[in-house]
C-alpha cells in the first residue's frame, strides 16, 4: 500500500491508463501545462505532452461533442468539465448525444468516453460552483455515474471507467482532493456497478456516496460510542446503475434505512434508494426511511448559511436516532 491523496490517486489512474493505451487522452479547460483547475492533471503534460493533454477554449458543449466524436472514431477521451455546475452548459451533448447515440443507431456504435468533473459544497463557492447534480444524470438512460469516496476507490474505479465501453460520468468531490488513504501498489481495477459496505453494522443501514460516506462513517462512530447503535454504512460508489443487492441485503438485516446525500432532497438519489427498498423490501422495514440531504435551496455563500443547510454527522445521527428510538 502507498499513502496518497484522492487527487494523487486519480492522477495515478490517469497516468496508468494513458501509459497502457495510446488512445486515451485528456481534453478540457486548463488541463495541460497548468494541470487542471483542481490540479488533478498536474505533471501529466510533462510526461505525455500536448497531444494527449488537450487544452480547449471555454466551450463545454464543444468539449463534450469533440470527446464524443473522438470516442466514435477510435479514441478513448477523458473529458474534464471544471465544475459539475458547468454541465448545465453542455447538457444537450451529454443527455441527447453521448447517452443516446448508441441506442438511436441501433447498437452500431460504442461510446468509450469518461467525463470527469467535481461537485459539492463546503468551500463557500456559492450557488453556481457547489452543487451536487448527480441525480440529473442518473435519470438518463445510457449513462453510468461513478462517485468515489476514497483514494483507493477513485483510482480503481477511474481505471475501470476508462476501460468501460459505455459513457461514464466520474464525479469527484472538491473536499475529497486532499483526503489521504491507502492505495495498493499493484494495479487494481474496481468494478463499476458495485456498492461496498464501508462499515458493517446490524442496527441501521446508512446509504451514502462521495464525501457523505465520510460523514456517515463519522456519525456511525459516534452512534456506536455514544448510543450503542451499530450502523452499517454502504458506499454506493457507482450511483447509476445502482447496486440494489448490497442495499437490500443490509436493510433485510437492519430493518432501518437512512440515506445521505449532498444533492437537493427532492427527486434525489435518496428518493431512489428509498423507493427501491420500499418496493422490494417493504416487509423488512420496521421504521420509515429517512433522507438526509440538501434542502431545496440554492447553495448559499456565507459560511453560516452553507453549513446550516449541508448534511453533517450531527444531522445523520439525529436521523438515525429519530427511527432507532421511536417515541413510545
Amino acid at each position: 500500500m502507498s499513502r496518497m491523496t484522492y487527487r494523487e490517486a486519480i492522477r495515478l489512474a490517469l497516468r496508468e491508463e494513458m501509459k497502457r493505451d495510446e488512445r486515451v487522452f485528456i481534453i478540457g479547460e486548463d488541463v495541460g501545462k497548468f494541470g487542471g483547475a483542481m490540479a488533478v492533471t498536474k505533471g501529466l503534460f510533462d510526461e505525455f505532452g500536448a497531444k494527449r493533454l488537450v487544452d480547449t477554449p471555454i466551450s463545454e458543449s464543444a468539449i463534450i461533442g469533440a470527446a464524443l466524436g473522438s470516442a466514435l472514431t477510435g479514441l478513448i477521451p477523458v473529458a474534464e468539465i471544471m465544475f459539475i455546475d458547468f454541465m448545465a452548459v453542455c447538457m444537450d451533448q451529454i443527455v441527447n448525444q453521448v447517452a443516446k447515440i448508441r441506442y438511436m443507431l441501433g447498437g452500431q456504435v460504442q461510446v468509450p468516453l469518461v467525463i470527469r468533473t467535481q461537485g459539492g459544497a463546503g468551500k463557500g463557492y456559492a450557488a453556481q460552483h457547489s452543487q451536487s447534480l448527480e441525480s440529473w444524470f442518473c435519470h438518463i438512460p445510457g449513462l453510468i455515474v461513478v462517485m468515489p469516496s476514497s483514494p483507493r476507490d477513485a483510482r480503481g474505479l477511474l481505471k475501470s471507467a476508462i476501460r468501460e465501453p459505455n459513457p461514464v460520468l466520474f464525479i469527484e468531490h472538491k473536499l475529497l482532493y486532499n483526503v489521504e488513504g491507502d492505495v495498493p501498489e499493484a494495479e487494481e481495477l474496481i468494478p463499476l456497478g458495485r456498492a461496498e459496505v464501508k462499515r458493517p453494522g446490524k442496527d441501521v443501514t446508512i446509504v451514502a456516496h462521495s464525501l457523505q460516506v465520510l460523514k456517515a462513517l463519522e456519525a456511525a462512530g459516534s452512534l456506536a460510542k455514544d448510543h450503542g447503535i451499530e450502523a452499517e454504512v454502504i458506499d454506493l460508489r457507482t450511483v447509476a446503475p445502482m447496486d440494489e443487492t448490497v442495499i437490500l441485503a443490509s436493510v433485510k438485516k437492519t430493518g432501518k434505512l437512512v440515506t445521505v446525500e449532498e444533492g437537493y432532497e427532492n427527486h434525489g438519489i435518496g428518493a431512489e434508494v428509498v423507493s427501491r427498498v420500499t418496493a422490494k423490501g417493504f416487509g423488512w422495514l420496521d421504521a420509515e426511511p429517512v433522507r438526509v440531504a440538501f434542502p431545496n435551496c440554492p447553495v448559499p455563500f456565507a459560511k453560516s448559511l452553507e453549513t446550516a443547510l449541508l448534511p453533517s454527522p450531527a444531522k445523520i445521527i439525529a436521523a438515525v436516532l429519530s427511527i432507532a428510538n421511536p417515541a413510545g
Binding site: V54, S70, G107, G142, P165, N166, P241
Partner: protein, 366 residues
C-alpha cells in the same frame, strides 16, 4: 468577389454569387473553373436523382400514413449539396448529418432498402427501428449519425476531425447543417475549436433561407452565412446551390483544401427546400411566387438539361439511370414493407454496450 457577395446579398434570398468566394480583404486567387467531366456528370446526376426520387417516395408514403411518427424532413431542392460533396469523399471519411439527412446518408453510400425500412420503423432498418428518419446512418460507411437537435452534430464532427489528426490519417470529417444551426452556440464553439486546433473538417452549410418558418433576414445579420467564418479566421465560400456545376466545382475545391491543408473550411450552398420543414408545414410564411421562382431552378431537372445540351450526353444514358433508380426504389419499398416490425422484447436492447457494470444491473432488474 466580396463586392459580388455584398451586391447580391446571396445568403439572404437573392440570386447567389456564381463563384467560390474567399475570406478577408485579400481573397485567394479565383479558383480555376474545372469543368465537370461527362463521366462525373453522369455520376452526379445519378446521385442527385436517387436522392430526389427517394425523398419523393418518402413524402408520398408519409402522406398516405405509412410512416409512423413525425413527418420526415425532406431534402427535395437541396440535392446538389450532398451529391457534390459526397462525390469527393472516400469511404473512410466521416460525415455528421442533421435532421434533414436522407440525402447525406444516401450520398455516403447507404442502401435505400435499409434506409426506408428504418424510416418505416422496421427491424431491418439501419438502426433496427430505434432511430427513424432523424437518426439513420450506416456507421460502417463513415456516417456518424444524423441529429434531431439543431447544431448538435457540429462539435461531434469536430471531434471526429480531432481523432483523425490524433491518429494521423489522411481522412477528413464533413459536417452538414442548415443556416439556422449557425445561430446555435454549438456552431460557434465548434468552428472556433476546429480553427484554433487546425482540424481537417469541412463545414457544409445548406442555407435554404428558412429556419422552419423564420426567414434568414430575421435571424442572420450578415450578407452571407459564410461571413460568420471570418470571425474564426477560416477559409470559406458561398456558392449557388441550384447550379450543380458550380456546386460540384466548389465541393471539389473545398474537400481538396481540407484534405491537403488539414484545416477547416466552411462551404455555404444557397439553396431552397421545395417542401415544407415537414409535411405538416403549410408554408404560409412564403409566397407561391417565391416557390415557383426557385423551383424553376430545380437542380435535378436543370442539370439534366445541361447534360443533354452541353455535355453531349445521350438521353438514353439518363433514361437508363432513371430506370435503375426506379428499380432500386421499388425493391427498397418491397423490402421495407415486407420487413417485420421490431419485436417488443428488443425495446430494451442496445442502451449500453455489453459490460460487467451493465450486465449486473440487468440481473438485478430481472
Amino acid at each position: 468577389m466580396k463586392e459580388t457577395k455584398a451586391k447580391t446579398r446571396a445568403g439572404r434570398g437573392g440570386a447567389a454569387p456564381k463563384r467560390l468566394s474567399a475570406r478577408g480583404k485579400a481573397p485567394v486567387a479565383k479558383p480555376e473553373r474545372v469543368p465537370v467531366s461527362p463521366q462525373e456528370g453522369l455520376a452526379l446526376y445519378r446521385s442527385m436523382l436517387r436522392i430526389r426520387r427517394f425523398e419523393t417516395l418518402v413524402n408520398g408514403l408519409y402522406l398516405k400514413g405509412r410512416i409512423p411518427g413525425m413527418s420526415p424532413h425532406l431534402y427535395i431542392g437541396e440535392e446538389t449539396s450532398a451529391a457534390s460533396v459526397s462525390f469527393f469523399l472516400a469511404k473512410d471519411d466521416y460525415i455528421v448529418s442533421n435532421h434533414r439527412g436522407h440525402g447525406h446518408c444516401l450520398g455516403k453510400g447507404a442502401a435505400m432498402d435499409r434506409m426506408l425500412a428504418e424510416i418505416m420503423g422496421k427491424s431491418t432498418g439501419y438502426c433496427k427501428g430505434r432511430g427513424g428518419s432523424m437518426h439513420i446512418a450506416d456507421v460502417t460507411l463513415g456516417n456518424l449519425g444524423a441529429n434531431g437537435i439543431v447544431g448538435a452534430g457540429i462539435p461531434i464532427a469536430v471531434g471526429a476531425a480531432f481523432s483523425i489528426a490524433y491518429r494521423g490519417t489522411d481522412q477528413i470529417s464533413v459536417c452538414y447543417f442548415g443556416d439556422a444551426a449557425t445561430n446555435q452556440g454549438t456552431f460557434h464553439e465548434a468552428v472556433n475549436m476546429a480553427a484554433v486546433m487546425k482540424l481537417p473538417v469541412l463545414f457544409v452549410v445548406e442555407n435554404n433561407l428558412y429556419g422552419l418558418s423564420t426567414h434568414i433576414r430575421r435571424t442572420c445579420p450578415t450578407d452571407c452565412v459564410s461571413d460568420k467564418a471570418h470571425g474564426y479566421g477560416i477559409e470559406h465560400a458561398t456558392v449557388d446551390g441550384m447550379d450543380t456545376e458550380e456546386a460540384f466545382v466548389a465541393a471539389r475545391e473545398a474537400v481538396s483544401y481540407v484534405r491537403k491543408n488539414r484545416r477547416p473550411f466552411l462551404l455555404e450552398y444557397v439553396t431552397y427546400r421545395f417542401l415544407g420543414h415537414g409535411a405538416s408545414d403549410n408554408r404560409s410564411y412564403r409566397t407561391k411566387e417565391e416557390e415557383e421562382q426557385w423551383k424553376k431552378r430545380s437542380p435535378v431537372e436543370g442539370f439534366r438539361d445541361r447534360l443533354l445540351s452541353a455535355y453531349g450526353i445521350e438521353e438514353a444514358a439518363l433514361v437508363a439511370i432513371e430506370a435503375e433508380a426506379e428499380t432500386e426504389l421499388a425493391n427498397a419499398l418491397r423490402f421495407a414493407e415486407e420487413s417485420p416490425e421490431p419485436s417488443p422484447e428488443e425495446a430494451l436492447r442496445d442502451i449500453f454496450a455489453p459490460s460487467e457494470a451493465v450486465v449486473r444491473q440487468t440481473e438485478v432488474r430481472r
